[in-house]
Amino acid sequence: MIRPTYAVFEHQLVAYRRTWRGSVLSSFLLPVLFLLAMGFTVGGYVDRAGGLSVRYVDFIAPGLLASTALQIAVGESTWPVYSGFKWHRMYHAMQATPVRVTDMVRGHIGYVLLRVGLSAAGFLVVMGLFGTLHSAWAPAALPVAVLVGLATAAPVFAYSASISTEGLFAVLLRVAVIPMTLFAGVFFPVGSLPLWARILAYVSPLWHGVELSRAATLGTATAWGVWAHLGYLAVWSVVGYLLATHRFRRRLAD
C-alpha cells in the first residue's frame, strides 16, 4: 500500500515548501563554489604538473557531484530524523495513525532522495555549463547521485534513530563523512594512497559512487566494473534500510 508512505513524503514536501530558499545555499551554491574554487584555481596548478589524463576540473566535478549527494543525504538524515523522535516527535505522531514504520522510513527517505536529486540535477547543469561533461552517459550521473544518497541516507537513518545524544553526530561526521569526502577519490585518485587507506576508500560507499559518476561524465571505465559498484551501493542501501526500520521499531516501542 503506497498511500501512508506517500503521506509521509508529502508531509516533508509541505515543510520543504517553507524552507527551500534557505537550503539552496548549502545544497547547491556551496558545491558549485567548491567546484569553481578547486577546479579552476587548484586545477591550474595540477594541470601544469600534468599528473592526470584529464583536466583537473573535469576530474573533480563528478566526484563533487557524488560527495554533494553524500552531504545532503547525511544532512537530511541526521537532525531531522533525530528531531522526529526527540523534539518534534513527528514519528510518534505518525505512530498513532495507520502509518507503519516502513511507511515512515520509506516516505522520509523518499523525500531525502528528492532533495539529493534536485541538487544533483542543478549541479549537473552547472557542470555542463563549464564544459565538464564529456560523454553521452552524463545524465546517468543523476541516478548515480540518488543511489549514493540512498546508500548513505538509509544507514544514517538507522544511526540517528539509535543515538540518544546529539553529540554523536559529531562522531559520525569526524569518523565517516569527512574522511570519506577527503579520501574516497573525490579530489585525487585513490591509487596514490597507501594500501590501508585505499581499503578504507573501497569500503566507503562514496568511492563507488565517485567511480560511477566519473565514468558517466567522462566516458571512462570504472575500477571494478559498473555492476560491481552498483551492487555494492545496493548492499549499503538494503542493509541500511533494514537496519533503519529495525531501529525505528525499537525506538518507538514502549
Binding site: 503521506a7 508531509h11 509541505v14 515543510a15 495513525t97
Partner: protein, 310 residues
C-alpha cells in the same frame, strides 16, 4: 461487532518493562458514548494502559479488544478509527496550524479536499481561526493542546484517547480545553482520558477507575465513588501551636475518619459544622478551619493513603 459489545474490553491486562510492572492485571470495559477516565498519580500505569489501547505498545499479558479487534494483529485498522491526543506535544512546529491538520489527515488516507474542509471546521471548533495560517512554534501551550485535540478529531474517530489533556496548562487554558471536550461528549463522542486532576475527572467523566501501582483500586461514577469511599463533608484543620500529630488523639471520635497530612488534618463527617462545633467543645484552637464537600481527592486519599498531586 454487535451494538452491545464494548468499544474497549480488557481482562487481566498486564504491561511489564523488564522487571518493572507498569500495569498489573486490570479489567475494564468502555461503552460507546461514554466519557471514561483513568485517575491516578504519576506512575500509576495510566499512560501505559492508554498506549496499549492506542495500539502502539503491545500488552505483555491478558486480553485486550479495541473496537472488537485485537490491537496486536489489527493495530493499523484500529488506529485508523482512533483519535489520539498524547501527553507530549507532537505537532510540527514549522508548519502552520492548518497544515498540521491537513498533513495529519493525509496519514489516514483522507483525500486532500476533504482534509482541507475538515481542517477548517476543526480550527473553528477549537477556536484557532485567527491563528490558522500562523506557524505552530510561537503558539501558547493551551493553543497547542487545542490544536492537538483538533488533530485527534481529523479522522472522525470512534474513540478519542486523551492522555493528561490539560497537564501543564494554566487555569484559563484548562477551562477552554474542558469546554471543548464537554462539547464532544455532548455530541456522543466516546472519550477515554487520563488525569491526575480531580476536578477534571469530576467535570468530564461519566465513569472512572482509580489506578494506583498498576492496579485498579476503585471504579464507578465520580458521585458513586465519593459516596462509597468518603463522607459528605470534610473539615480541614490547621494548627499553629503544636506539632500536628499531637492533635490526632485529641480529635478522636469526631466525625467518621481522620487523615493526617503534613500541613493539615482532615476530619471526614456527614455534617461538617457539627464536627467543627465538636472541635470547639474540646477547647482545641485550630489556626484555620475549612468545611467543604467531599471530592475525588478524598476518595483517592482514602484508597491509597496518599494525595494525588504532591
Amino acid at each position: 461487532m454487535s451494538v452491545a459489545e464494548p468499544l474497549i474490553a480488557a481482562h487481566g491486562l498486564v504491561k511489564r518493562f523488564g522487571d518493572f510492572t507498569a500495569v498489573a492485571g486490570i479489567d475494564l470495559e468502555v461503552r460507546a458514548g461514554e466519557a471514561f477516565g483513568f485517575l491516578g498519580p504519576n506512575g500509576a500505569g495510566k499512560s501505559s494502559t492508554m498506549r496499549m489501547i492506542g495500539c502502539v505498545s503491545p500488552p505483555t499479558g491478558g486480553t485486550l479488544r479495541v473496537l472488537g479487534m485485537d490491537p496486536v494483529r489489527a493495530g493499523s485498522a484500529i488506529r485508523a478509527r482512533l483519535g489520539v491526543c498524547p501527553q507530549q506535544d507532537s505537532l510540527d512546529p514549522e508548519l502552520t496550524v492548518r497544515e498540521n491538520l491537513i498533513v495529519y489527515a493525509r496519514y489516514f488516507g483522507i483525500p486532500r479536499k476533504v482534509a482541507r474542509q475538515r481542517a477548517d471546521e476543526l480550527i473553528e471548533f477549537v477556536q484557532l481561526t485567527e491563528r490558522a495560517d500562523d506557524t505552530v512554534e510561537p503558539l501558547s501551550g493551551g493553543m497547542k493542546r487545542r490544536l492537538t485535540i483538533a488533530r485527534a478529531l481529523v479522522n472522525e474517530p470512534a474513540i478519542v484517547l486523551l492522555d493528561e489533556p490539560t497537564t501543564g496548562l494554566d487555569p484559563q487554558a484548562r477551562h477552554l480545553v474542558w469546554e471543548r471536550l464537554f462539547q464532544l461528549k455532548q455530541r456522543g463522542v466516546t472519550l477515554v482520558l487520563t488525569t491526575h486532576y480531580m476536578d477534571e475527572a469530576e467535570q468530564l467523566c461519566d465513569r472512572l477507575v482509580v489506578m494506583d501501582g498498576g492496579k485498579i483500586v476503585a471504579e464507578g461514577s465520580p458521585r458513586q465513588l465519593i459516596e462509597r469511599y468518603s463522607t459528605r463533608e470534610v473539615v480541614e484543620l490547621r494548627f499553629a501551636e503544636a506539632a500536628l500529630d499531637t492533635y490526632v488523639g485529641k480529635l478522636e471520635g469526631i466525625g467518621e475518619r481522620l487523615e493526617l497530612l503534613p500541613d493539615r488534618i482532615l476530619l471526614y463527617a456527614a455534617d461538617g459544622d457539627l464536627a467543627v462545633a465538636a472541635v470547639a467543645d474540646r477547647a482545641l484552637r485550630p489556626s484555620s478551619v475549612l468545611v467543604r464537600r467531599s471530592g475525588l481527592e478524598d476518595v483517592f486519599l482514602h484508597l491509597t493513603g496518599r494525595t494525588l498531586v504532591d
